[in-house]
Point group: C2
Chain length 327, copies 2
DNA sequence: CTGAAAGCGCTTACAG
DNA sequence: CTGAAAGCGCTTACAG
């Protein structure tokens, strides 16, 4: 039967050493006699002692954890980003937790509860208006890096979404047909404007070529809605040219085209955004973002900040590229 | 210019009260004179004071956070589960962080670093061999709930996957053709055996009807591989009956069928597992799991444990159901 | 309702 | 290499 509240003192007493020595063993300090270390380790094992994380963090001043905040958690995109972030952090003994904001309550928690937001050593925040999200308290000892949103207070890592939209526009404008946009309507006013930028870039390019967009559909990140909109478009228009501001919408659109027996690059043209695996499988033309790379850079900057780097925040902007496939 | 290391003492001094009073204000204690409260709040505001989370957690003994661990993070399934978990926890002032295990390093961190795993008030662990994952240390003050894996040490919430597999088998076996299984090969020995159970249930049902499975394909959770396997099957076999142990595989399989001009329920039959949104859109027959419900129950049990409930762990088993669509 | 003080369980100079 | 002690920044009985 094990005792509940084992502390470092219990270990020290049983091992016949001071708590300092136990602590050094726990933290792999080189300044411990190998024999002492072995002995202490054995006692720890016997007792089944587990250090209290909160105490460790309070006295050491750090947790070894960083938090990544996403507006929602839809899969591949986010996992890739995380892998990029890990790439850098893991070497330094850090790891990252995820806090997805798929509900109003979660937004509220982040906005109002500095307590748990600042319980880790750093924050990477994706596709959110960071400045407003954190307006109720200013993280001072907790560095923040903003992804996909250009912050005025923190370092940012961005993709040039306007340019990406233009690439899509250049592609689409080179064909004949009626032009449509299917884009994401943010579910919170705190979501960043990446989709708007893509759409604006697209429209800019289209108009430069003297053409115009017939209709813009703004919907939540919901396959079914995209599906229904595509049905409407394909049924009404003989030949449609569609820009899906994210691949997630491109998937169901292509599906509808298939159901109706429409052929890509003949009956319709479609350009997505993101270059997810499924767009590769479905052979969808899309705009590629360097997702993993973005994560990596965000991790790098955050790490520098954690280590004390204190220059003025700046933004890094990456370029997207067009990938032409069969739509 | 704000000072860096503001503490509760600075606030107390400036407000002319004791730290206890500041603490009570911070924690919304009812035992504070409204005027005192207002004043302290103003000072906190002026100073821009933010309480140190680690200190709070050390003295209060809890963090208000629970951690959910997934083998990977592929999207809809996990978000639904999380929403179910939240449903219960939010009412009690808790919120949940996610720790996805998409890399070996992450497995290692969980297995070896009790420190950060136990830094929250509770653990919900999905589709992993919890007993082995946590074998290196026994969480004592941190309750654990296992999802999709029947643990011998902790409460479990499960779906009867074997039965689900049988439902799929009953469906598939009622048609003529060559039978295939496409299932997930765990990338870590610590992943749970949900897929095996589904497959075993399927085979059991098939064999009871005097039929047999031609081939079993085990692949990672990778659309491209499923895509290629489907190609092979459809090209070789005139009429195939396929059980995809997860809808994620069913999507690309249907895609290949489309490309080859094959018609569901005529040229091939396909039954997936999970009933994700995309299987609805693609009209794929599948086995429905009560995902949200599972999350909700896991959250409920965890909460009870956090509050001190200490009976012997037990397992709750939910039933899946067959949803017949156009494949 | 409030303040002074003990205590949460570690880490880390400090002196040896 | 090691121990005793101060300190991390809160919370929470306790006495008033």
């Amino acid at each position: 039967m094990r005792k509940k509240g084992l502390t470092i003192k219990d270990v020290a007493k049983k091992a016949g050493v001071g708590v300092g020595t136990v602590s050094r063993v726990l933290n792999n300090s080189p300044h411990v006699n190998p024999k002492t270390r072995m002995h202490v380790l054995k006692v720890i094992e016997e007792l089944g002692y587990i250090p209290n994380p909160h105490a460790r963090r309070l006295s050491s001043g750090h947790s070894g954890i960083i938090t990544t905040i996403f507006p929602q958690m839809v899969g591949e995109f986010h996992q890739l980003l995380l892998m990029g972030i890990d790439r850098v952090l893991e070497n330094e003994g850090y790891t990252s937790f995820v806090y997805p904001l798929y509900s109003d309550n979660r937004y509220r928690f982040v906005k109002e509860s500095s307590d748990f937001v600042l319980g880790t050593d750093g924050l990477i925040i994706d596709a959110l208006n960071v400045d407003r999200l954190l307006s109720q308290y200013i993280p001072r000892n907790t560095p923040v890096v903003s992804l996909e949103y250009e912050s005025s207070n923190y370092d940012s890592v961005l993709v040039d979404n306007f340019y990406g939209g233009m690439l899509a526009g250049d592609y689409i404008a080179s064909f004949e047909g009626e032009i449509f946009i299917v884009t994401h309507r943010p579910e919170s006013e705190l979501e960043s404007t990446v989709f708007d930028e893509r759409v604006n870039g697209f429209i800019e390019s289209i108009e430069r070529k003297g053409k115009k967009v017939s209709e813009i559909f703004e919907i939540p990140l919901d396959w079914l809605q995209a599906f229904n909109i595509a049905k409407g478009i394909f049924r009404r228009v003989k030949r449609s040219l569609i820009f899906a501001a994210t691949d997630y919408f491109a998937f169901p659109i292509v599906e509808v085209a298939r159901l109706l027996g429409l052929e890509g690059k003949k009956d319709f043209y479609l350009c997505g955004f993101d270059n997810l695996t499924l767009s590769n499988i479905l052979n969808i033309t899309t705009i590629k973002q360097p997702i993993y790379e973005m994560g990596r850079m965000a991790g790098e900057i955050l790490l520098k900040r954690i280590k004390g780097y204190s220059r003025k925040p700046r933004a890094i902007v990456l370029k997207p590229e067009l990938i032409v496939r069969k739509t």
